[in-house]
């Protein structure tokens, strides 16, 4: 098994090295940013009424501005990492072997194509999962460094853009690319189609969760205060009997409100931040399920197809 793993790394060394270097650099830069923001407590620097930064922060204002810019850019880049890593590592795994004819050699040597498939896919999927999890944690820390007082494990801030979901996104996209590669047998078309299908799947998981679960799980927040920890899904007007109506329903009841404005309190329909971990885990499990199905589909194609 060790020999097979070593050889799989050597066969895919360019992609693995590229992802490992990108992940390592990202972790190193992010660690420096987080350390600087934490040590200087720059994010707590306040401004006076004229917009001037407080005296203790004067000396580090320029550096701080750059560091926070890099922080925000890094969080943004982290959200595309699952696509880059998933496509780069997943697409060539089977497609390139079919395209270059190495699958023909391997499948003639191996009575079990499944063994070949597991040998090729296993180590790379592990690398993808570890790298994407590292980037997920990095995005989590970077987001936390910008909001030092926030409890991110109970907050929807940066939902879908940090933590576990980045890792499962990458695994789902990578597995999709593996399966499509087995069908198409050419790396470039595989990358393009996987980009489209992977993007649709990521969006679909979030959308299905929203439509099937989250919309029915909202609670009413009548505080009138916007709380960024919560996931704000909609707003309603609360009638004296406690019932909730949309603006259109309110207008239908009393058209004069279009001119006078609504007289009933506006309430938010939210998912409380305390449920973040639960919902993150639910979506992550859905994505892992899809990733598993894709890998099984890829295996079935490999078992049946011609080697090219």
């Amino acid at each position: 098994m060790l020999v097979a793993t070593r050889l799989t790394y050597r066969i895919n060394r360019f992609e693995i090295l590229a992802i490992a270097v990108a992940t390592g650099l990202s972790v190193a830069v992010s660690a420096a940013i987080v350390a600087w923001l934490t040590q200087t407590d720059f994010m707590s620097c306040g401004h006076d009424n004229f917009g001037n930064i407080e005296a203790r922060c004067l000396g580090m204002a320029n550096v701080g501005e750059w560091v926070t810019r890099i922080d925000r850019a890094s969080v943004g880049l982290a959200s595309i990492f699952p696509f880059v890593a998933g496509l780069l590592l997943g697409a060539p795994l089977v497609a390139r072997e079919i395209d270059r004819g190495t699958a023909r050699l391997a499948w003639s040597l191996s009575p079990s194509r499944l063994r070949w498939y597991v040998q090729r896919i296993g180590p790379v999927i592990v690398v993808l999962g570890v790298a994407a999890m590292a980037i997920g944690i990095v995005a989590d820390r970077l987001t936390g460094a910008m909001m030092p007082t926030a409890d991110l494990s109970n907050s929807f801030v940066g939902f879908h853009g940090r933590g576990l979901l980045l890792a499962t996104n990458a695994l789902m996209i990578g597995s999709t690319a593996v399966a499509l590669g087995a069908v198409i047998g050419k790396p470039l078309p595989t990358i393009l189609l996987s980009l489209i299908l992977g993007g649709l799947l990521v969006a679909a998981v979030a959308e299905v969760d929203m439509k099937a679960f989250l919309t029915n799980e909202t609670v009413v927040d009548a505080s009138g205060q916007y709380d960024e920890r919560n996931l704000n899904l909609d707003s309603r007007f609360q009638l004296p009997d406690g019932s909730l109506v949309t603006w259109q329903q309110l207008y239908d009841m009393d058209p004069s409100m279009a001119e006078n404005g609504p007289i009933y309190p506006n309430v938010s329909m939210i998912i409380p931040g305390e449920r973040y971990r639960e919902i993150e885990t639910r979506e992550a499990l859905a994505e892992l399920g899809i990733a598993t199905l894709m890998l099984v589909a890829g295996a079935l194609v490999v078992l049946r197809r011609r080697p090219g």
Binding site: A4, L7, I11, G101, W107, L109, R306
Partner: protein, 298 residues
């Protein structure tokens, strides 16, 4: 005769219309080195790939070491060492890595045996596959196939990319391994002179059909060449096919009973056929037959 490879009424059709092979009946005897010869597009690769389970027959059946590759591909692959048409090694891996890789993929693979063959073919084990010539890659492919110790070797035009010396070395290693291990080998090739020295049996495919299936000795004994125009006195069923000599003179391959004495040279313009002439004569006949079939179909 026990057959290591069999085809019965085998046909393979691509994309619903084009038949690569049709109605192929043949048997490759166990322990033989059989040459599979035919023009481009005659279906040699399709047949070989079907025996290893890479292609599914459209009609008829195949047996690889007694196993139907359509029903038990694993069993068929386990009985076969395969050298594909174009070298397809992992460019980033060394020869040693390839041997190790084969060991991880196949139970019973003998890495020491494969390494010995590689060294005999003067290929450095530490060389990266990307640095090897096409011929050297084919030789590594042969060494890997021999390392499987599979009872049947399928070699799909491995000589095409080899220079004459490498070709000779390749065939020497192949023949020696087959004789030593009791393998059966099926070698598809265009290079007839080398086949004559290495193989003991000949199958000629043409336009999707089996044109000839004989031992090399029988093929030579049962054919002669007529130089010049065909004598009308020769029965039409004895004429196999007409083709030009390298100098452009008309030659005709005729079928004879092996017991017939060869007339003295110059008397009837008849002389023993070379193996190349036997093959070319049957290919020419296949072309004529195909043209007649097309005309009839039209």
């Amino acid at each position: 005769m026990v057959a290591a490879l069999e085809a019965q009424g085998f046909g393979k059709r691509y994309r619903r219309r084009t038949w690569a092979l049709r109605g192929v009946d043949l048997a490759v005897p166990e322990g033989s080195i059989t040459a599979l010869v035919g023009p481009n597009g005659s279906g040699k690769s399709t047949l070989i790939r079907s025996w290893i389970g890479f292609e599914r027959p459209t009609e008829g059946s195949l047996l690889t070491g007694g196993i139907d590759p359509r029903r038990d591909r694993k069993g068929a692959v386990a009985r076969v060492g395969y050298v594909p048409q174009s070298p397809s090694l992992y460019s980033g891996l060394t020869v040693t890595d390839h041997i190790a890789l084969a060991g991880t993929l196949r139970e019973g693979f003998d890495p020491d045996l494969a390494a010995r063959y590689v060294e005999r073919l003067s290929i450095p084990l530490s060389a990266s596959a990307g640095e090897l010539s096409g011929g050297e890659q084919a030789q590594v492919g042969l060494s890997l196939a021999l390392g499987t110790r599979a009872p049947i070797l399928l070699l799909d035009e491995p000589l095409a990319s080899l220079d004459p010396l490498a070709r000779r070395e390749f065939l020497h290693v192949l023949v020696e391994a087959v004789r030593a291990e009791g393998h059966t080998a099926l070698l598809s090739s265009h290079v007839i002179t080398d086949i004559e020295q290495a193989c003991d049996r000949l199958i000629v495919l043409g336009k999707g059909h089996t044109l000839l299936d004989l031992s090399i000795a029988e093929a030579l004994a049962h054919h002669r060449v007529l130089e010049g125009p065909v004598d009308p006195a020769i029965a039409a069923d004895r004429v196999v096919g007409a083709f030009p000599s390298p100098a452009g003179e008309p030659l005709t391959l005729i079928r004879v009973r092996s017991a017939e004495p060869i007339p003295p040279d110059g008397v009837a313009g008849e002389r023993p056929a070379t193996l190349e002439e036997v093959v070319i004569g049957h290919m020419a006949a296949g072309r004529v037959r195909r043209a007649a079939e097309r005309a009839a179909a039209a």
